[in-house]
Symmetry: C2
Subunit: 547 residues, 2 copies
């Protein structure tokens, strides 16, 4: 039996792991991640599908731990290529169904399971175990394989007083531990953090305090999938006699899904249509919104900069940003806070106030799970190397031998046989980039071009040339985009034209008429000239027109 | 008398404030800031010089609070245009002198002052007051104007046990308060943070612990100007019998300056040349380095990714990143930590360990200063709006009336007359961008182009046209850079050529020969086609060649 994590290692996001034995292959999760400064202009980043394609015949199904994008976001792309059943809890499948509709995928084979269920699939036996997380319906998955029992934690925390569902099923983990766990694939996101993550309920206490003191509108931004937090806003609104407005596409959709599936008790009578929010007195409404990450087009950002179609905010109003910025989003969130404060709003945000708790286990919770599962082997998953390393350190401190802890990269492959694990050669596991709707399998060339364009711009030369003699016909044209400001670069255009003219006079004397050689000569001379003058290296594109 | 902050409001960075009365104008600080996602490819961001240019004759000098880039970084550019004396402490001028040399400015008129000094300048009387900060030689500046006494805090914290120099001169602040302070321009960087900032000495305690336990090399990264922290590394090295190596251009330079000026007690015998570091046994050396912000080319980043010329790091070694990431640098710092850990190093970093304390006053320190100065008016400076707002709230909680607190933008102008303050119309205060060595005064067009290029790339069409008829001669050429991957975009090139051909056939039938009209038509049709196909909007550049 082999386990091959294809994403989620050395990074936060695009979690997807293949589990494979003679009887077939299954995937645990199929997540996406978001572009960063190394993938400018990209819509979505997916795990590499190469390994799946190579073993397409063996793939028998996908088991989902929960409905977050970094665990299900790649699903539409996977299902386009591989028509296999998908197993998940009601909430998870509710989100997946809506996602597949968006992609125009009508007949996904979605099979609902619930915590406590067991399910045979491709010769494996899957057991779904209740965990707590920042979304309803999260499960761990224990898989009985022909090499032994392995456990995927999914994303989890231990909340003894969860908003919905039961506390994490520690009893079941203990039973698995006693049965004997060969390998544990554990969530490492918060493994740098000592102690325990507080219960989600402390955020509700803060909400109640805010609702107690607010006189105008209350606007609460959170992740749209964080139905527990949404529930706590709704409960505070009930207690303080406020109606609920909802704005932001994903918040509207997820609130609807959660209500339909019975995860959110929000009576129709409490719900105000987005278009009617301005008709409700400010003191009688609380508004749920997207935009907790400062995304430029999200509803809260538009409220903050005054471009939301129906909702404005002023000095009497209160805004709660009930989330913590994901690394990379700090500036966007800060911009939102600044803009809201400029409008006079009273803004509550993390870490100044207890308006957010994490959904990922900290070190003591990780120890609790390790002590119950007593795994032979640990593979820390979900996280950058530093997080995987800390998880490994925590396990080592509890007596798991270092040689039984595998810190892998994406594509790292572990074989389990006769109770032993060993690493095999890595499989291909880069990223697939979704760009302009298409799936680009390897666009590093385009990415490099975009990065260079964004730093140094582009410099285009059009030279008309006599096809026979290679002689220049008239002065060359020079056009730049994203290069230095023409006003700031005195005479740069004229001098560049002169440089190109000299180059082509020289090549004409040398009787060079090959386009490739001419272009190379122009690029070389112009690049030297421009970087000398400006220390910049624009993309230089010589266009030669034969006349 | 007027005070005009030209930078540092609504932002962290490029602090520069003009103080102006009939007798002349002076600047307090002349700082720069660094580019962000809205200024791609830019070298340095400066305050807008327009106001200075308009009042060039009145400008009589510049007084510096301390030597950080966000307070002195614009100085070379200012001095190129305005030949005025510069006042600062020994450390500040030491850093400025080295900076001016780099810029080839030989004869800056630098005039040393020290805390406690008073100095007449342009009809103002300046008093320099000791404060604590994350660099030696930081001062507040009290200015006696013809409208009254105003106080600039500069960057400060209150450290009763500073590593060097005296604790902040609270006695002098109290005396000024009793004399009567008209307006206080106070550092707001940490105004969201409750309580006090701990003394710098707690970082020294952590260093000692690290040195106590380390067996291999110790590498400590910090801001190169943070000579107090450097001092604590050197002291720990002395205590634990390690020599000191220094790497990273600015660290080497600043350590040299601090030693020359007597701010750093690092005997020659302790100092190992960068090239000789590998000759010293690992247990006998500690290395000071730049790169605490994860800057890709800094020494620590190169050590972390294995490209440093002389220093490598391995499983026995210890690295301390003695700084906190500045917002926007989180990913870079994280990458450095990951890379170091992959090499097996034991990495100590904030906030997991006490390897950093801030140099900016928290709320209780701000209250302390406000209670001593008892200013009539407060203008919170140095910070984004949220920070200015919190500083204002703190002051309001102490009884300063809201109408006496001015939260300004860059270019905001306050006039003080007869003990009263009022706001005048804003002056021009955008940013000046240094791009490719040149000073671009307003490059928002180029910035927008670079952003668009980095997201969607560029699409170039070359069409050869009969000058008389406007008819297309042969198929048009289509070239893209940074646009979607050609492999992923089946037939997009061919289809684009067809679109352009159809457009030009139409315009030929309509007998359109005007280049402008032809280009507009190509742009319109192609843009519609491409965004329909790819949802991307590349810059489209039609080039028409008449034959």
């Amino acid at each position: 039996m082999q386990v091959v994590p294809l994403g989620g290692l050395g990074e936060i996001g695009k979690n997807m792991t293949a589990v494979r034995q003679e009887s077939g292959m299954i995937l645990v999760d199929a997540g996406m991640s978001f572009p960063d400064e190394e993938t400018p202009g990209i819509d979505v980043v997916l795990p590499d599908f190469t390994y799946l394609r190579e073993h397409a015949d063996e793939l028998k199904g996908i088991a989902l731990t929960h409905g977050h994008e970094d665990h299900v976001g790649a699903l539409p792309y996977v299902l386009r290529e591989f028509n296999v059943p998908v197993y998940g809890t009601k909430m998870t499948l509710g989100l997946v169904r809506s996602k597949l509709q968006e992609f125009g995928i009508k007949k996904g084979d979605l099979r609902e399971i619930k915590a406590g269920d067991r399910q045979n699939l491709a010769g494996f036996n899957l057991e779904f175990i209740e965990v707590n997380h920042s979304i309803p319906g999260a499960v761990a998955i224990a898989i009985r394989t022909n090499a032994g029992l392995i456990v995927f934690s999914g994303d989890y925390k231990v909340d003894f007083t969860p908003i919905e569902g039961a506390p994490m099923d520690l009893g079941r983990l203990a039973a698995l531990g006693n049965e004997g766990v060969l390998a544990y694939f554990g969530d490492s996101t918060n493994s740098e953090r000592p102690g325990y993550i507080p219960t989600e309920r402390i955020v509700g206490d803060t909400f109640n305090e805010v609702f107690e003191n607010a006189t105008g509108r209350i606007i609460v931004a959170s992740f749209a999938s964080h139905i527990h937090r949404v529930t706590q806003v709704v409960e505070a609104a009930k207690k303080h006699d406020r109606l609920i407005g909802v704005t932001g596409r994903s918040m509207i959709r997820n609130v609807q899904i959660a209500r339909d599936l019975g995860y959110l008790d929000l009576p129709e009578a409490m719900l105000v249509d987005q278009r009617d929010i301005h008709r409700v007195p400010d003191a009688d409404i609380a508004i749920l919104t997207t935009g907790s990450q400062g995304e430029p087009l999200a509803a809260l950002s538009r409220i903050a900069n005054g471009t939301h179609r129906t909702i404005d905010v002023g000095p009497e109003d209160t805004v709660v940003i009930a989330a913590h910025p994901i690394p990379g989003n700090e500036r966007g969130v800060s911009r939102t806070i600044n803009n809201l404060m400029k409008r006079g709003a009273d803004v509550h945000y993390s870490p100044l106030e207890a308006v957010h708790v994490s959904g990922h286990a900290a070190q003591e919770e990780q120890k609790l799970v390790l002590s119950l599962l007593k795994p032979e082997y640990l593979v820390p998953v979900h996280g950058e190397f530093r997080m995987l390393r800390h998880h490994a350190n925590t396990a080592a401190s509890m007596g798991i031998p270092e040689e039984n802890i595998f810190i892998l990269e994406n594509g790292g492959r572990v074989e389990f046989k006769n109770g032993q694990a060993r690493r095999l050669e890595n499989v291909s596991a880069g990223m697939f980039l979704v760009d302009g709707g298409g799936l680009a399998e390897s666009s590093s060339g385009v990415m490099r071009e975009r990065q260079q364009l964004s730093e140094d711009g582009m410099f285009i030369v059009v030279a008309r040339i006599n096809a026979q003699s290679g002689e220049l016909l008239g002065p060359p044209d020079v056009i730049s985009r994203g290069f230095v400001d023409p006003q700031a670069s005195n005479g740069l255009v004229d001098e560049s034209m002169a440089v190109v003219t000299r180059t082509l006079e020289r090549t004409a004397r040398q009787r060079i008429t090959d386009w490739g050689e001419l272009k190379t000569a122009i690029r070389k001379d112009l690049s030297g000239f421009l970087s000398g003058k400006t220390r910049k290296r624009p993309i230089i594109l010589p266009l030669i027109v034969e006349v």
